[in-house]
Symmetry: C2
Subunit: 209 residues, 2 copies
């Protein structure tokens, strides 16, 4: 998290800094980004940067969280609108994200982010799918999910369902940037994989073999 000083900044200066950081992380992935460039673009002295952030990771993850927040907040609403259907809700969210990624201004930031997705980033993005005890957002999602539809025997197991969907979703987003699929191809691939997940990868006929 940024230091308190950052949040005390006048909005204009803060936004300017955010823009400069976004530009740098859009130009190159996190590991190649340099604070030197950010402060040059933001036109602030080097020392100031360290008043606001611990280091460049701090700045990057703050930005990422910001840009993902809306999707997380919406998810609960989308779930409700879809009568607790997890899959429909994920597909809607997937399309929302994809749409946002199309915007020229965001494209490179997210490309750099997703092609260098690691555990920490994934945690920020799927925020809370794995810490039911601490996260309120997660709890509110859990209560919305229509568990009756799911092929599980108790609520404990919902976590596995979420883990699976999250894994396949982030994997799809990653692949999209790597393979440069068109908007339509991306959605087709994702919905197909979601349908496979729903109905199972195995044929059900028990008489086989």
């Amino acid at each position: 998290m940024p230091k308190p000083t950052f949040f005390n900044l006048p909005k204009k200066k803060r936004d300017h800094l955010i823009q400069a950081a976004t530009d740098e992380f859009s130009r190159v992935p996190l590991n190649e980004a340099s604070i030197a460039n950010i402060v040059k673009n933001a036109d602030i002295p080097r020392g100031s940067f360290y008043q606001y952030f611990e280091d460049k990771e701090d700045a990057f993850y703050y930005l990422l969280e910001q840009k993902m927040e809306s999707h997380q907040d919406n998810f609960s609403t989308i779930l409700k609108r879809n009568q607790g259907d997890l899959f429909d809700s994920f597909i809607t969210t997937f399309i929302n994200m994809l749409t946002e990624f199309q915007v020229e201004e965001n494209l490179n930031f997210f490309r750099n982010a997703f092609l260098n997705m690691n555990y920490k980033m994934e945690s920020k993005i799927t925020n809370g799918f794995n810490k039911p005890k601490f996260d309120k957002k997660f709890e509110s999602i859990l209560t919305e999910v229509d568990i009756q539809k799911l092929n599980i025997k108790d609520e404990q197991e919902v976590i596995h369902v979420l883990q699976i969907i999250a894994a396949v979703t982030t994997h799809n987003l990653m692949q999209n940037f790597a393979k440069k699929y068109s908007f339509e191809e991306a959605i087709d691939n994702y919905t197909f994989e979601m349908s496979l997940l729903k109905k199972g990868l195995y044929k059900e006929d028990d008489d086989h073999k």
Copy 2:
């Protein structure tokens, strides 16, 4: 790939360098690792490193590929032994990997690798699951898979099945390092998720709703 010079090195010197690099990548993740440390440990001049590798990424990905090669090579054999059953084969491979990761000597290398897994690394690990046209290993796997068992209508769609399993598998491996599951917990989680994948996340009863 390392430069030809690297492969011309006498085995002893090459192994010593490999060990030094492994040590450094076990100490810290790729982005924090330094060539300065590697050459110090390997006791070779800095310039020599650049005779052998393009940069530290080159060295890292070479090591990673080396350490993953056996699992990839075995997969085809394992598939055959399991009568083309993808899931059983993946579970076997998962356990093999987990076993290898337990070894003190490998533990930190793989921890650093998996917690910083990105697209490029995943490609090295799931090597070829997404480029059927070019990869021989992949072709040989494809012919072994018993497609009859799978819930798909043509061979084209196998790729999606593989993508899904690969996504869930790497996700599980990542989580293991992050959550520090025990060997048994890890296997239980994975086999459960695999069984969910097989039978589907949704209840089949069509009369619902």
